[in-house]
């Protein structure tokens, strides 16, 4: 039942496998960040700030027709790219699917070992928040 989320994850993992070195992976992440839908400044308020990240990250959601849509934004480029990956997998899915899908891509594309602990903690904080939100709409 998680096929669509899992497929998204597999696609991301396959894409990262094509890169030869880490700087290429970072370049790809940075470029993804540039494609992130800009967030309305009115939403960039303290109550939407995600704690656990060294850079500023804002996360908002809406629940529509049984699906949870997320939008997130950051002032840092690499984090913006990571947000893009997370949104690709989790946004627009049902709460049940979100809860059931583990973010394997972090481990499988090597993000956990190549991002500083503070930043990968920030990524984990974002996914925890997404899952907690899904839990509240279950």
């Amino acid at each position: 039942m998680n096929n669509s989320l899992q497929n998204q994850q597999e696609e991301i993992i396959d894409t990262f496998d094509m890169f030869d070195d880490w700087l290429e992976k970072y370049q790809y992440i940075i470029d993804l960040g540039k494609q992130l839908e800009p967030m309305d400044d009115a939403l960039k308020v303290d109550e939407n700030i995600l704690h656990g990240c060294q850079s500023q990250v804002w996360l908002v959601h809406d629940f529509n027709n049984g699906h949870l849509n997320f939008q997130a934004s950051s002032d840092a480029a690499i984090v913006s790219g990571l947000i893009h990956l997370v949104m690709t997998i989790y946004s627009g899915q049902t709460p049940e699917k979100i809860i059931a899908t583990e973010p394997e891509f972090i481990e499988r594309i090597g993000l956990s070992s190549h991002l500083s602990s503070t930043r990968s903690n920030g990524l984990n904080a974002m996914i925890e928040k997404i899952k907690a939100t899904a839990q509240s709409y279950k």
Binding site: W22, L23, Y26, Q27, I30, Q54, S55, Q56, D75, A76, A77, I78, V79, L115, S116, R119
Partner: protein
């Protein structure tokens, strides 16, 4: 200079030679420090000050020799004026709670500067909450220097204590502390100088400065983490009550009352960081052997070179351009977040710090969330500065 003495510098990260430019966060340790720690654990491991057996005596001797080495490094009148602490943070808290607290009441003032590390702000805010005293701040200018025009008003009849940083960890500014101390003393106001970033770079003479207290951080001056020194004038230390109660700091305990030990033991409750103290003594000896004059001279050569090299990076803006500064460079690059720069240049082997560097008020002054900070030590080289610049140019290209 002396680079071969530092094993930590001889390694690679991400397959590139390490370029360690995060010395203001913590420095690397020379072999002599590692050997001193190892030697203690291998051959002298025993508790100090209380045993009659040989190991305890030799451990005590090593620990007290370390205190003597540190006294010589900062030219203290006696090693008895030095208290081993965990670092500058503990030193400032100790002075706030045992020396200053009983001297202040509601409406009194404590004077610090805009360039302080959080560790020389928060202990005073806690004291102010406890006593109703007010925290006053010597302002700074765009160059990152203290503005002393209103010093006479800031040091007034309500001012009970002044606590000022010697060298700014975020900007590298070397403050005119001797002048500040003289101005405070002219009004009988005692002074603490936070020397965390000074002892790694410049010769410190506490008698010449005439400061009442001076704090030293071990790990910033090539010694172990969790080690440090609080120097205090002997008349203050004798008059101050203890900070922590426990073993070692007593001479007699009954259930009715306790007689405290003499200084410095009075302030050293519990088994201390023995290996750390001995390692710190070795760091002091190492620095005196190299020579503080030579270290300071080399720092200034590196400073001039790095200042010039960084100015050639398009879009890079130095934050803090004091005339008198140590080789610490805070900078921002137009349109690129500091964390992004730090992450990418790490992959080129370059270690810098990004963020607010525990000095949020400084960055509030500049209207910045934070900066990149490259902080150099005497063992860094011009070639490493070149690698930094090249890596910054490569990072810039990635984000454009």
């Amino acid at each position: 200079m002396m680079r071969h003495e530092f094993p930590g510098l001889q390694q690679q990260v991400h397959g590139k030679p390490l370029v360690y430019l995060d010395n203001a966060a913590t420095a690397q340790r020379p072999q002599a420090v590692l050997d001193a720690i190892n030697n203690y654990y291998l051959k002298h491991n025993a508790n100090i000050h209380r045993g009659v057996h040989s190991l305890s005596e030799s451990a005590t001797e090593l620990y007290e020799q370390a205190r003597n080495s540190l006294a010589r490094l900062i030219n203290a009148p006696s090693e008895k004026d030095l208290i081993f602490v965990r670092g500058c943070t503990e030193g400032v808290n100790l002075v706030a709670q045992t020396f200053v607290r009983s001297r202040v009441k509601a409406g009194d003032e404590i004077l610090i500067s805009h360039l302080e590390h959080h560790s020389n702000i928060v202990p005073w805010q806690i004291l102010c909450e406890q006593t109703g005293a007010k925290l006053k701040v010597i302002p700074m200018n765009q160059q990152g220097e203290l503005v002393l025009d209103d010093l006479d008003q800031l040091l007034n009849e309500r001012t009970k204590f002044m606590s000022v940083v010697h060298v700014s960890n975020a900007l590298g500014t070397i403050n005119p502390v001797k002048k500040l101390i003289a101005a405070a003393h002219a009004k009988d106001i005692p002074v603490l100088i936070d020397g965390a970033q000074a002892t790694p770079h410049i010769k410190v003479d506490v008698q010449d400065l005439d400061c009442d207290f001076y704090t030293v951080s071990g790990h910033k001056m090539y010694g172990p983490t969790g080690s440090g020194i609080l120097y205090g004038k002997s008349e203050h230390l004798s008059a101050m009550p203890p900070y922590h109660g426990g073993g070692e700091m007593i001479s007699k305990v009954t259930f009715e009352s306790t007689v405290y030990n003499a200084v410095p033991a009075k302030f050293e409750a519990g088994t201390p960081n023995i290996a750390g103290g001995i390692g710190l003594g070795a760091a002091a000896e190492f620095m005196m052997t190299v020579g503080m004059d030579k270290i300071a001279e080399r720092d200034q050569v590196l400073k001039v070179y790095a200042e010039q090299a960084l100015s050639e990076v398009p879009g890079l803006r130095l934050v803090g351009t004091a005339t008198n500064k140590s080789p610490v460079f805070s900078f921002v690059i137009d349109g690129i977040h500091a964390h992004d720069i730090g992450t990418i240049i790490d992959h080129h082997g370059v270690a810098i710090r990004t963020g607010h560097h525990c000095t949020m008020p400084i960055f509030q002054f500049y209207g910045l969330a934070g900066s990149c900070r490259a902080s150099l030590a005497f063992y860094n080289t011009e070639q490493e500065v070149d690698v930094l610049v090249e890596s910054l140019l490569k990072a810039k290209a990635m984000f454009q």
